[in-house]
Assembly symmetry: C2
Homo-oligomer: 213 residues x 2
DNA sequence: TGCTGTGAAGTGCTTCACAGCG
DNA sequence: CGCTGTGAAGCACTTCACAGCA
């Protein structure tokens, strides 16, 4: 069994599906399923069987021919391939409603994505304690990133302040940004931004609904 | 100018981008930009200019040759094409932490996606008032859907109860479901489910980060 | 025999390139 | 002249089909 990534380019869609496979496999694991073959796994994920096999094959040979995949080891292999079998330390910028809701969402922490410092530029918020974390001034970001080994920045500011928050993160050397603000960010090539837009989903539902009334 | 959908199939990716265009166009509108051509719009959205023109062309001819697109009318045209220029009434199932956070998120309401009834199967929660709404028993869903003209169901239960919630929604005739629970749903073809998984984004960040360390 | 892993074929989205119009 | 709208080309992802192995 080989967990090295084959040097090929891996489609972004594959990464997203791998996250789904983990979700579904953990469900099977809870039901004490020990071995599963690609077709039932695919069905549970709403995709094609070859798709599953091809996605997994990007990262190694995890299966047993004639048998299938052992569930628990496969979960570990996928997590390791994705790099989510370790902790990630994150900084959150923007301690408003949305920011507080994210801090509340304990599932992040459970999965190893830990918000270890929070920032705001509102002087009235600085110093406040939210979910056990002191709100720091955004100017201190660079120091804290170095001090706390932060690798991911989460932006939950209002849209008009998102670009400035991104600039602070980039100045601090952060190249991975999760952006909850409804704004596009101007960033250099080497910075990876993921945009979370709750409305994409609703727009897709609305569009489909009116197409087939 | 023609706002009829040409009968062609419209890629899902196009719908997602249209949501982004609206976001970016609204930003331009706030800055009093009145006309914009495809290339600057595309750049602000992180896509190709032809992509923008082709996406828009699925729904009609919104531009002026030699000039570009008038921002405000374009916003309205896109919204109308997507079906988000009207109100949508939604039911939320699962009034836990996540459900409450969603109720808090006033942006939904502002954009016309209104949660008008909330449900839970926990007898201790039924009758409680959350954000001005009484928590109803999930058994009453069918009646309320009819009574209140609900068209979209939002699932924010724990994963093990998501399928049951979906069943209740489908029994009530709902065919559009937004699922925040980390579980895949078994649904017939005619039901449209959008899965919101916060971890997709984080997994993508983690994967990319470890690829280019 | 049964299921994985994978080249080859198929499909659909994206980009190009330019005709057409304001 | 400039920018849109669009057929055609290019590219990437998905599915098929089967060789290969447990």
């Amino acid at each position: 069994m080989n967990t090295q990534t084959k040097s090929k380019h891996i489609p972004r869609a594959t990464i997203q599906r791998l996250a789904t496979y983990v979700q579904v496999l953990e469900h099977f694991a809870r039901d004490s399923v020990e071995v599963i073959s690609s077709n039932p796994l695919a069905e549970a994920c709403g995709v094609n069987g070859s798709q599953v096999r091809k996605d997994l094959a990007y990262f190694g040979e995890f299966g047993i021919r004639g048998v299938g995949y052992r569930v628990q080891p496969l979960i570990e292999s996928i997590k390791s391939s994705l790099g989510v079998n370790r902790d990630w330390r994150m900084a959150l910028i923007g301690v408003g409603n949305l920011g507080k809701a994210l801090l509340n969402h304990s599932e992040f922490r459970n999965r190893g994505f830990k918000i270890v410092a929070i920032f705001d530029c509102d002087p009235f918020k600085i110093g406040e304690i939210v979910h056990g974390l002191e709100v720091y001034c955004t100017r201190d970001l660079k120091d804290k990133v170095r001090l706390l080994g932060i690798e991911i920045g989460v932006i939950s500011t209002p849209p008009e302040r998102a670009q400035r928050a991104a600039q602070h993160l980039m100045d601090a050397g952060i190249t991975s940004i999760l952006n909850y603000a409804p704004a596009r960010l101007k960033t250099p090539e080497n910075v990876h931004v993921e945009y979370v837009d709750f409305f994409h989903y609703l727009y897709a539902l609305a569009f489909n609904h009116q197409q087939q009334p």
